[in-house]
């Protein structure tokens, strides 16, 4: 499609007025108002399902509002497709990057723009522009590097460069910090500050309160499709924002002193290869005692995914041992591990943990459909299955219209609660939870945390792998930091503090 090069008159003021977007059965946005000035970071805060993404998709031309108006510099404007929004000077950094992994940075930036040389490529010109922009905004990126070689943080910089190169003056950032290390987050915030200083307007979507408080000038909170309120960041507090988001106060976890139980899970000198055959877990030693949560903190890509898969029996172990309650399970498959008392919450919920097209009930039996409780000869025992499923749904407060609803129609939080219910219903003695609350709304996160703590108090040995340091610090009894395939430090929660753990996560240790 023809694209007229960066015309983008600077957006000084953008307003969304009384936006209504109705989906069948849900009013995703109900008279939502939002505005942003040049030189301002406006954060949009809300739980999953609050209507944040819907609102942003209308601003970016992906959906059209049913009612209400978008105004740029006071003029009403309608975006029928993203290209219209791009032309008007709006850029969007999606949560899942829209980059071609095999192409270089310059090629990705050049995509979707006409060459300055007609039919011939002008990658050198694009590269120069990239270098200039990256200096201007502190976005260090090598134009000739291939995307797949870059870290997640670098890929995000490429996305921002792309938007800037297209001439965007209003940039929407959809959960930009979800995938970043603490260091990368502070780099990103530095970049955002420079962009604001240059007169850009930023819309910053997040559910991480401390980031919103740190980076934004104003905050708008959405709940159930309605604007709860807009506050200048200086005039609000964490507690107020939480109350606005969830409509109630959140409870803080009580930490009981934990009795030192026996060793539940013992991992010795574990080595595991990655997808490309390179060694990615390089000698991990860990012991998780019964009645204890051991948190593994670390930046994504340091071997925690492979470690978790190897423990689940999904990835071969090249050296070392895995012992659960004295049984050596190093080389047995997944089913034997489950029999030995292991349960597993996989990181990629919809890929590995559940089947979206299956009903809620069918998902409850993904692992246990063979158990004599639920089968009679070759047939499934529907009555017993339904009873069991409805008990779990009730017990774990999974919100679903019926047991026959396809799982994918549920929200992320409810899907995760169902997976948790399924894995805990086997009464495991060892639980491995990988990123148990990633992308889950605050209410469900609270619930999942509470459940994990109860499970710990019941004597389960829990290995919690998470990239969310707050989560680790609020749940774990001990924190181990993984870096480059090794455990570079283990500290008790009592003495753990974010700064020193952050340094370990970044690979800074003696």
């Amino acid at each position: 499609m023809a694209y007229t090069p960066p015309i983008a008159a600077r957006i000084d003021h953008m307003e969304m007025v009384d936006i209504v977007k109705q989906f069948p059965g849900v009013r995703a946005n109900d008279h939502v108002c939002l505005d942003v000035h040049a030189g301002e970071v406006h954060a949009i805060l809300g739980e999953n399902g609050a209507g944040k993404s819907t609102l942003m998709r209308q601003l970016y031309g992906m959906y059209q509002p049913d009612e209400g108006e978008i105004r740029i510099n006071g003029e009403p404007i309608a975006f029928r497709k993203p290209l219209d929004a791009i032309r008007a000077g709006i850029g969007m950094i999606h949560q899942h990057f829209m980059l071609v992994p095999t192409m270089t940075v310059a090629q990705n930036v050049a995509l979707g723009q006409p060459s300055t040389r007609g039919v011939r490529l002008d990658l050198d010109v694009v590269s120069e522009r990239i270098v200039r922009l990256s200096e201007e905004y502190g976005l260090a990126v090598e134009p000739d590097a291939a995307i797949w070689q870059l870290s997640v943080g670098e890929q995000q910089r490429v996305e921002i460069l792309k938007a800037l190169d297209l001439g965007a003056s209003l940039i929407i950032l959809d959960e930009p910090t979800a995938v970043l290390t603490p260091q990368e987050v502070s780099d990103l915030f530095a970049t955002l500050k420079r962009m604001v200083a240059e007169g850009h307007s930023l819309l910053f979507i997040s559910h991480k309160l401390h980031e919103v408080l740190e980076v934004s000038d104003r905050v708008t909170v959405l709940r159930d499709g309605v604007t709860v309120g807009t506050r200048p960041t200086n005039d609000t507090s964490r507690d107020e924002l939480v109350k606005m988001m969830v409509g109630r106060d959140l409870k803080r976890h009580e930490h009981r002193a934990v009795g030192c139980g026996d060793d539940g899970l013992t991992i010795s000198a574990l080595h595991v290869d990655g997808d490309r055959g390179e060694e990615i877990v390089r000698g991990v030693d860990l012991t998780v005692r019964c009645g204890e949560i051991l948190g593994i903190a670390g930046v994504s890509g340091n071997g925690q995914r492979e470690l978790a898969e190897a423990l689940a029996g999904m990835r071969p172990i090249t050296a070392g041992t895995v012992v659960i309650h004295g049984n050596d399970l190093t080389h047995v498959g997944l089913n034997e591990r489950v029999k030995a008392g292991l349960s597993f919450i996989p990181e990629e919920r919809m890929r590995d943990g559940a089947i979206g097209e299956f009903t809620v009930q069918e998902n409850v039996f993904l692992r246990d459909h063979e158990s004599p409780e639920f089968r009679r000869g070759p047939f499934l025992r529907f009555g017993d299955m339904a009873r069991h499923a409805s008990r779990l749904v009730e017990e774990y407060a999974v919100k679903t219209p019926t047991l026959d609803t396809p799982l994918k129609n549920l929200s992320g939080g409810n899907i995760q609660k169902l997976i948790l219910a399924r894995e805990l219903s086997r009464r495991p003695t060892v639980l491995i939870a990988a990123q148990p609350t990633r992308g889950v709304d605050i209410g469900a996160t609270e619930y999942i945390h509470k459940t994990l703590l109860e499970q710990r108090d019941d004597g389960t040995a829990i290995l919690l792998i998470s990239e969310d340091l707050d989560e680790i610090l609020s749940l774990a009894d001990r924190v181990a930091v993984i870096y480059n395939g090794r455990i570079v430090g283990t500290v008790d929660r009592a003495v753990a503090e974010p700064h020193s753990i952050g340094l370990l996560m970044a690979g800074i240790y003696e």
Binding site: F23, P24, G51, S53, I355, L366, N409
Partner: protein, 361 residues
């Protein structure tokens, strides 16, 4: 809840889009008919009369639907495990070969025993033909589309060889006609005809029963549950301790078995002997019938009746308006094309409705 509305809407789309596909195919074909100076109204009238306008036409429609349903059921199981079985033709041949050889040798067995055995033999023959691609896929990740197609050629050549050699009708050799066909099956091996002076045979009951069996298999047994899980999400299946490769191989084996059953029944009910080209496109038309039937065993029943009627009606039309037989094939091809592409369209449409039905954050 609005979910009910969406379900109703989805059902409507599933019904409407394929029907629209058939209508568009017939509309475009009408343009060709006009170009050939044939009256499309008369032509389609003849088609309808041929398919359902007379007792004979109706029975012929049912006769054609019988193998289509069985082949389609197999396609449906394979699809549910995310395997694409293009080998219906070869599997029919394998089943028919085994059943025919068995019938010619053990013709003296009591009739019910023999007939049951032959149908099972048909299943076994086809299952072997489906198992090989399944095994290759499970063990060496060989693409099943290619292997099932190649297995078609192998089966065809094997049948040609046998019909011109060991299986050739001794009567033909004696009479000097040397037709490539087997001897006639013994009486005890023939399926009962249901209506005098028609080809309608009791095999249709086997087909219908199998539709119910496949439905129960897929939705009421642990094995069927695993087959569906495998197809919908192999990753999650693996994480749940389900061996994905084995279930894919199994689905192809079962698909082959059902097609083989169709081959045996076709020989036992219609031809009373193995003849060349007895598969007459059922292997491929079965795929389209399966798609039109929403890959659901019970949806397949009307879908195979429809395609059976289309095959019969096209013959009548050809005779009635004197169009070249190539055009009839073209019309069938268009229907197939429109219906199979509309299946994709249905999916997209439904996905859009569902996406709209969800709240995004």
């Amino acid at each position: 809840m609005k979910r009910g509305d969406n379900d109703a809407k989805e059902f409507g789309i599933r019904l409407l889009v394929p029907t629209g596909g058939v209508a568009s195919a017939l509309f475009i074909s009408a343009l060709f008919l006009i170009l050939l100076d044939a009256n499309p109204v008369a032509a389609y009238g003849a088609m309808l009369r041929g398919a359902v306008g007379s007792t004979f036409g109706l029975t012929q429609t049912l006769v054609k639907a019988t193998p289509l349903l069985l082949v389609g059921l197999g396609i449906c199981i394979a699809f549910r495990a995310r395997c694409i079985n293009i080998g219906g033709r070869g599997q029919m041949i394998a089943g028919a070969l085994l059943a025919t050889s068995f019938a010619l040798r053990f013709g003296a067995w009591p009739r019910p025993v023999l007939i049951a055995t032959l149908i099972i033999m048909g299943f076994v023959g086809g299952a072997v033909w489906g198992f090989l691609p399944g095994f290759l896929k499970a063990r060496f990740a060989v693409n099943e589309i290619l292997t099932t197609i190649m297995m078609n050629s192998i089966a065809l050549q094997l049948m040609n060889f046998l019909l011109q050699g060991p299986l050739m009708d001794p009567a033909g050799i004696e009479a000097g006609t040397f037709l490539a066909q087997s001897a006639r099956l013994p009486e005890a091996a023939r399926l009962a005809r249901l209506v005098p002076r028609t080809l309608l045979h009791s095999g249709i009951f086997v087909s219908l029963a199998m539709a119910v069996v496949v439905y129960v298999f897929l939705w009421r047994t642990t094995l069927g549950y695993r087959v569906r899980a495998t197809g919908l999400n192999p990753h999650a299946s693996r994480y749940s301790g389900i061996n994905v490769s084995i279930h894919q191989a199994l689905s192809l084996t079962l698909a082959g078995g059902l097609a083989g059953m169709a081959g045996a029944i076709e020989v036992m009910g219609v031809h009373y002997r193995l003849v060349e080209e007895f598969t007459s496109g059922y292997g491929f038309t079965g795929i389209v019938a399966a798609l039109l039937g929403w890959l659901h065993p019970l949806g397949l029943i009307p879908a195979s009746l429809f395609f059976g009627g289309l095959l019969i009606g096209a013959d009548t039309m050809q005779r009635a308006v004197q169009v070249p037989s190539a055009l009839v094939n073209a019309i069938l091809g268009l229907v197939v094309l429109f219906v199979s592409s509309s299946a994709v369209w249905t999916q997209q449409w439904i996905r859009r409705i569902r996406a709209r039905g969800e709240v995004s954050s």
